[in-house]
Subunit: 205 residues, 2 copies
Amino acid sequence: MQQRSDQASQPGTGGRANQRLRTRTAILRAASELMRDGRDVTMPEVARAALVSEATAYRYFPNLASLLREAMAGQWPTPAEALARVADVTDPVERVAAAAEHLARTVLVNQGAARAMIAATVTRPEDVPARPALRLGLIDHALAPVADTLDAAALEQLKRSLSVVISAEAVFTLTDLLRLDAQEAVAGVVRAATALTREALRPTS
Amino acid sequence: MQQRSDQASQPGTGGRANQRLRTRTAILRAASELMRDGRDVTMPEVARAALVSEATAYRYFPNLASLLREAMAGQWPTPAEALARVADVTDPVERVAAAAEHLARTVLVNQGAARAMIAATVTRPEDVPARPALRLGLIDHALAPVADTLDAAALEQLKRSLSVVISAEAVFTLTDLLRLDAQEAVAGVVRAATALTREALRPTS
DNA sequence: ACATTCGTGAGAGTCAGCTCTCACGAATGG
DNA sequence: CCATTCGTGAGAGCTGACTCTCACGAATGT
């Protein structure tokens, strides 16, 4: 007499939590592998690779975008790891450059998944997740050294600007529309990001 | 014995050029109207509104993106018209601001079409048209006053950066991911664009 | 006036994103 | 060890982006 609706994905403490976790993990692993191999990441493909029915895949991930998001997040290093190279550097410009380069390169390596995510996301803006997006963590971490020294409003605006530039969309604009090759696209994103940062750091102009 | 394949869309000088032009125009007009009304712009919808079969629509436009692109282009003012407000202004920062604001506002008004275009385009980068994209015309026009005074390489980099920022993708990043409202999104795009321009104008630093 | 051309419509078909229903069957609790 | 639970598979259904085939019929040239 309880709710019979599908709640399989709920990680609650239900009796079959292990089974659920196993299934969920299998789906994520399959998606990650497809991404890594540069293959098309579609729900039918992931389900097949995970030896799970498509229906089950949708039970755990309401849509492709959420699956891709979580699969990518699982593969991504934490902001701290990604910026390890500049861990000791306090110059925000250099840190932002590292963040931009890291994101751009990662996007280019996982192009298929990144493109699929944009496509799946842009048409359903309502269920774009709340703020903890990958790029925002990176940006925050890169700007940490100036979080206090910089004017709050200026910092907020800089973060907004950087979230536009340090993005998969930016990379694809450069490669697809301007037809830059991978290397130049990365360089373009880095230069744009550093330019924004430098400008934001100048005394109130 | 000639080629029997569909070549209906070829604007050549064929015998039935008028009929073809009429059909093509009807499809474009239908698409434009759907866009203006903020309705969903899908091939079936456009075909229905144009009183044409879906098959015919595809004969004239190989995919949704090409239709949307041309329909938008038809509705867009020329760069000169869009920037008429700053026609007499030579300050590139102010001109870029106007360009950014114009594009952002236009995108927000035609959100549906803009989103559909991004979705249709990001998954098929190969047939993204060559450079004459809307935003590039705007940017070139805005930067015209400094086309000669600025260092060539710096100018090129500025254009690349601006093409990332003065874009529908940028607007949607701000509204969807950062959840800014329309007004703040426009402001964000404008500030990012002006910041990039200001920085590019500084003497070699 | 006639034959050819060719723009067009209709409709079947494929694939992906989803949604929903139904029933099987293994894990679980008593 | 039996009854309930519930994770899962199978499959139908719907929409949109396309692709392809086939045949109708109006425009065209002779």
